[in-house]
């Protein structure tokens, strides 16, 4: 099934913003799909890593609103495998930040986890760094 996407000024702006914030040349991505096959979290994502790159290239807001960027575990497997040297982890981070910088947390710090008493500091600190503004 194909999807028609109308490219306009808004798309270009978003694409440039993603490039700027991530510091990566997202136009280099040639959609080879190695990132998708490497990603340990890909099965749980609504958009694949290669899809994240494609939507970023065309500046489609769908990627900013996706669940996939939050499922990313910043494991850098995609980063070390991309044949064009794109650090996809940075692109995912930029997409998360586009949400977080609106002063919106992705998790509820006040109701973090019923197991908060069992969790090690490293888990709480890293989760809050990735999911809160």
């Amino acid at each position: 099934m194909s999807e028609v996407i109308y490219m306009g000024e808004k798309n270009k702006k978003l694409s440039e913003k993603i490039e700027e914030l991530s510091g990566e040349k997202i136009t280099l991505c040639e959609q080879c799909g190695i990132c998708t096959t490497s990603c340990p979290m890909a099965d749980d994502m609504d958009i694949t890593p290669a899809g994240i790159m494609r939507y970023s290239q065309i500046g489609d807001e769908k990627v900013v609103d996706s669940e996939a960027i939050w499922i990313c575990a910043s494991c850098f497997t995609c980063t070390v495998r991309c044949p064009r040297g794109i650090d996809l982890a940075k692109v995912a981070e930029a997409l998360r930040e586009l949400n977080l910088r609106k002063n919106v947390d992705h998790i509820d710090v006040n109701h973090l986890d019923e197991e908060l008493n069992e969790l090690p500091a490293i888990a709480v600190v890293s989760a809050l760094r990735k999911f809160t503004s």
């Binding site: 700027e20 914030l21 991530s22 510091g23 340990p40 979290m41 749980d44 499922i71 575990a73 910043s74 494991c75 850098f76 497997t77 980063t79 070390v80 650090d87 982890a89 940075k90 981070e93 930029a94 930040e97 998790i107 973090l112 986890d113 069992e118 969790l119 090690p120 500091a121 490293i122 888990a123 709480v124 600190v125 890293s126 989760a127 760094r129 990735k130 999911f131």
Partner: protein
């Protein structure tokens, strides 16, 4: 005793005390004294990856300033190699160090911001304890000091992500690392292959509503180790340890056929092999490693 500055990180003072205890004892047994940084602060556990990030580099760099201060104040003698145990702390500190030493303007901004501290001069080298064992001590020297070789103990090394990736930061080849296998062999153990030895454990997803993602990874990683005959798994990261060890309970709930396997910090096995089993902190591990270690004769023998 060769003194090195040592950065523990928050978790080693809290839920991973056994990691620190076994490391300090093992290091001492091979002539290394880990001198804890005075007034260190939390590194942040993960690096902030946006291009405009400056503030979150302050915490790691402030710790590197402490290393400089330790040298200036005579706590150390010209030793700028900072040893870390926790893989995530290692990754954050090394990464921030690389970013600021490669960007003079950012370093200047950070130094100006930290106006109560001396300037960071970019002199510190962040290293992981395994690197020290390989490059400074040498695995042969380690082997020579082993009092209780871990003979026939089948150990599956679990690298996780942050020890190996990204390439500029990793302590070994990201795709075909050998450092942990060499470490295991130096202790007299048998390194068991695991195709998932550097598959992400799920990291911070262990917090909140997605912890099942972690339990799935645990299932995969441990089953692969078991299929290859492993008795135990070793790791270098308290988050990996929590996800592979403590989360076995959730994994068992999700997969009733799952069998528990002990997960240890690499320094715990090191302590046992060097004859310091009383400092190995084995009582704190979630899945008790003592039965299998006792069965194989590695515990309870006075050296």
């Amino acid at each position: 005793m060769q003194k090195f500055p040592y950065y523990p990180g928050c978790t080693l003072k809290q839920t991973a005390k056994n990691f620190e205890k076994s490391a300090i004892a093992s290091a001492r047994a091979i002539g290394i004294e880990l001198v804890e940084l005075p007034r260190w602060n939390c590194c942040g556990a993960v690096s902030s990856l946006t291009s405009d990030e400056i503030m979150r580099h302050v915490a790691p760099i402030r710790n590197l300033v402490r290393v400089q201060q330790m040298n200036d104040e005579g706590m150390l003698e010209n030793e700028y190699r900072l040893i870390t145990l926790c893989s995530m702390c290692f990754n954050v500190l090394k990464r921030s160090n690389m970013v600021v030493t490669g960007d003079a303007e950012m370093l200047h901004t950070i130094n100006q911001f930290m106006d109560t501290e001396p300037d960071y001069e970019g002199t510190v080298e962040v290293m992981h304890f395994l690197e020290i064992l390989r490059d400074v001590v040498g695995f042969d020297k380690l082997r020579a000091r082993v009092k209780k070789p871990l003979k026939d103990l089948k150990i599956s090394p679990y690298y996780g992500c942050t020890l190996l990736r990204p390439k500029e930061v990793g302590i070994d080849d990201a795709e075909a690392p050998t450092i942990m296998e060499n470490f295991i062999e130096a202790l007299g153990g048998e390194a068991v292959d695991n195709p998932y030895r550097s598959l992400c454990c799920g990291s911070y997803h262990t917090v909140g509503e997605n912890k099942k993602i972690v339990a799935e990874r645990t299932y995969k990683i441990i089953n692969a180790a078991r299929r290859n005959g492993a008795d135990v798994i070793i790791t270098s990261c308290p988050l990996c340890a929590f996800n592979l060890d403590n989360r076995q309970k959730l994994t068992k709930e999700m997969h009733p056929d799952f069998e528990y396997m002990p997960v240890l910090y690499f320094t715990q096995l090191m302590a046992i092999a060097l004859g310091k089993e009383e400092d190995a902190g084995l009582e704190d591990n979630f899945v008790d490693p003592r039965p299998i270690l006792r069965e194989r004769g590695f515990l309870g023998v006075k050296q």
